[in-house]
Amino acid sequence: MAGYSRHKDAPYAIVAEYGTPDEILKAANTLREAGYKKVESYTPFPVHGMDEAIGYKDQRIPWIVFMGGLTGAVLGFSLQYYTAVWDYPLNIGGRPLMSIPSMIPVTFECTILFASIGAVVGMLGMNMLPQPYHPIFNTPNFRRCSQDRFFLAVEVNDPKFDDVETKALLESTSPLNVAKVEG
């Protein structure tokens, strides 16, 4: 979520590796209940309930999408109003220049277009993507994250982070492996 502009070899996180979605979900719940805030999960496919398990409550994307949609609606409508009523009025079948029914499809499409652009750009921007380098890739065995392994990272900037305690807590959640990762 945040940018990592630290110098090389600074500690980044303690990462635990799991074999099944149920295990990582359980571990994430354990961490949240223990009060950890900076927890990230890396899984081969979306794990249902993971956002709640890691305590993800960010509402910014829905609002960006909503504002994008609103902008699109206003722009789409004004474009048509400007061209059809103001700049180049044409009599089409004797209808009024400002014919709202005929303006709805374009207004609707612009709403969708701007909302989806808002979703994609907002998501990329807030994840600081594209990011050519990320310390999580230093995790041993991380290749299998796109195949059959599930990784849970507790980042060092978590206020509750403690080298020994965090590691012990993660080890108590029966992972396949726990590693301290540096970036």
């Binding site: 719940n29 709640e52 829905p62 909503f66 079948g93 029914p101 709805i104 499809p105």
Partner: protein, 402 residues
């Protein structure tokens, strides 16, 4: 999540409303049907009432087929409500309740359908052209056929889940998932033809190809909002206690949201195409709905049936809190009622319904047919457990304590 307040209310028993429904239904619908025999206005009221509850039953049938097709976990707590709402009991009662409309059509005395009068058809080239399809005998045969198909599907599905509850036999579930998808297709086709036969043909010169979908979506909204109302207002009572989680209300709320958008989409498509074409045969539908107060009703529906529920359901906190979702569902149901009135009543000659002002028989017929529907619903509920026990997914702990 705060611990839910546990109340000691007794377990929910929906079947106990049965006697009330029976009494109100037999008296109200009986009186309305009797008066409708000679009074065209009362027969319009009766058809409106039947439209509301008949389409609602079809909405339940659609959801029942959908649930057994996709077998989603969200459908399990509400499946028995779908089952009862589209039960053979409800469907048989609704079919019988339609007889006061069917018999006059067969005897050529219907005040509702002008195409059923031989002398009108003889002087009308458009109706002559439609006569091979739109004639009283074939229309009645289709009416019987539609109900046989619906009762067949619903009877099979309800029997099968009851049997699986009893024996735990998984083969029942496999069989259902083989029957339900073709059932869903059959439902859409028959419901489209039924809406065309019974309601679009009130204005027999006019037609719209989206009318069927539009009605099915509206029916789905009615059925789903009734379902949501039942489960959200009884969430602390057995057997729903602990099952009506924020996750479930979110799923149901999203479905309401999707149907609301679909309703807006189909309504607008129909209007936009007719408006763009601007051809007299097509525009008659909206011309009939521009008189006096009817235009106001139409505008109110754009706002009330689309924009208000759309923005209300956009917010996650509406869907995650049962009492909020109940309010939205209630609002949608009221709007469906208004929309039903708006779809049926202006179809008749302006002399009989110049303004949207409801008349006495509208109320009597609505309460009466509603009572009959409730009677069927409760009869079906009598022999049902509200929660199916065959699917262990329903009882998986969600582990978060809510």
């Amino acid at each position: 999540m705060a611990a839910p307040v546990m109340s000691d209310r007794p377990g929910l028993n929906l079947a106990k409303l049965g006697p009330l429904g029976t009494i109100v239904g037999l008296i109200g619908a009986g009186a309305a049907a009797a008066v409708a025999w000679s009074d065209p206005k009362a027969s319009q009221s009766y058809l409106f009432a039947w439209f509301f509850f008949g389409m609602m039953s079809l909405g339940f049938l659609g959801f029942l087929c959908l649930h057994h097709t996709v077998r989603g976990k969200w459908g399990l707590p509400v499946m028995r409500i779908f089952e009862a709402g589209a039960s053979p009991q409800v469907l048989i009662i609704m079919a019988l309740a339609f007889l006061p409309v069917v018999i006059p059509v067969l005897s050529g005395k219907s005040s509702l359908y002008e195409w059923s009068h031989a002398d009108v058809v003889a002087n009308d080239p458009i109706l002559q052209h439609k006569a091979p399809y739109l004639n009283p005998v074939f229309w009645t045969i289709r009416f019987v056929l539609f109900f046989l198909i619906w009762i067949g599907i619903s009877n099979f599905l309800a029997k099968s889940t009851a049997k699986q509850d009893e024996t735990g036999e998984y083969s029942n579930e496999q069989r259902r998932s083989q029957i339900a998808p073709p059932g869903l297709v059959a439902f859409f086709v028959t419901a489209t033809f039924a809406a065309t036969d019974w309601f679009m043909s009130l204005e027999p010169h006019w037609y719209s190809t989206i009318y069927g979908v539009w009605n099915v979506v509206g029916a789905g909204l009615m059925a789903l909002s009734v379902t949501v109302l039942i489960v959200t207002t009884n969430k602390d009572r057995e057997p729903y206690k602990g099952l009506i989680t924020p996750k479930l209300t979110k799923d149901l709320g999203n479905l309401l949201f999707a149907l609301t958008m679909l309703w807006g989409y189909t309504s607008l498509s129909q209007y936009l195409i007719i408006w763009s074409g601007n051809i007299p045969e097509y525009t008659s539908y909206f011309v009939n709905r521009r008189l006096e107060g009817w235009q106001g009703v139409g505008l109110a529906l754009i706002l009330g049936q689309f924009f208000i529920p759309f923005f209300a359901l956009l917010a996650p906190r509406t869907k995650a809190v049962a009492s909020n979702l109940a309010k939205v569902a209630g609002w949608i149901l009221v709007m469906r009622l208004l929309d039903s009135y708006y779809m049926i009543m202006p179809s008749f000659q302006a002399s009989s319904r110049p303004t949207p002002m409801p008349q006495l028989w509208d109320f009597v017929a609505f309460i009466g047919v509603g009572g009959l529907w409730l009677m069927g619903f409760c009869l079906a509920m009598k022999s049902k457990k509200l929660i199916p026990t065959y699917d262990e997914r329903l009882f998986e702990g969600d582990g978060h304590g809510h």
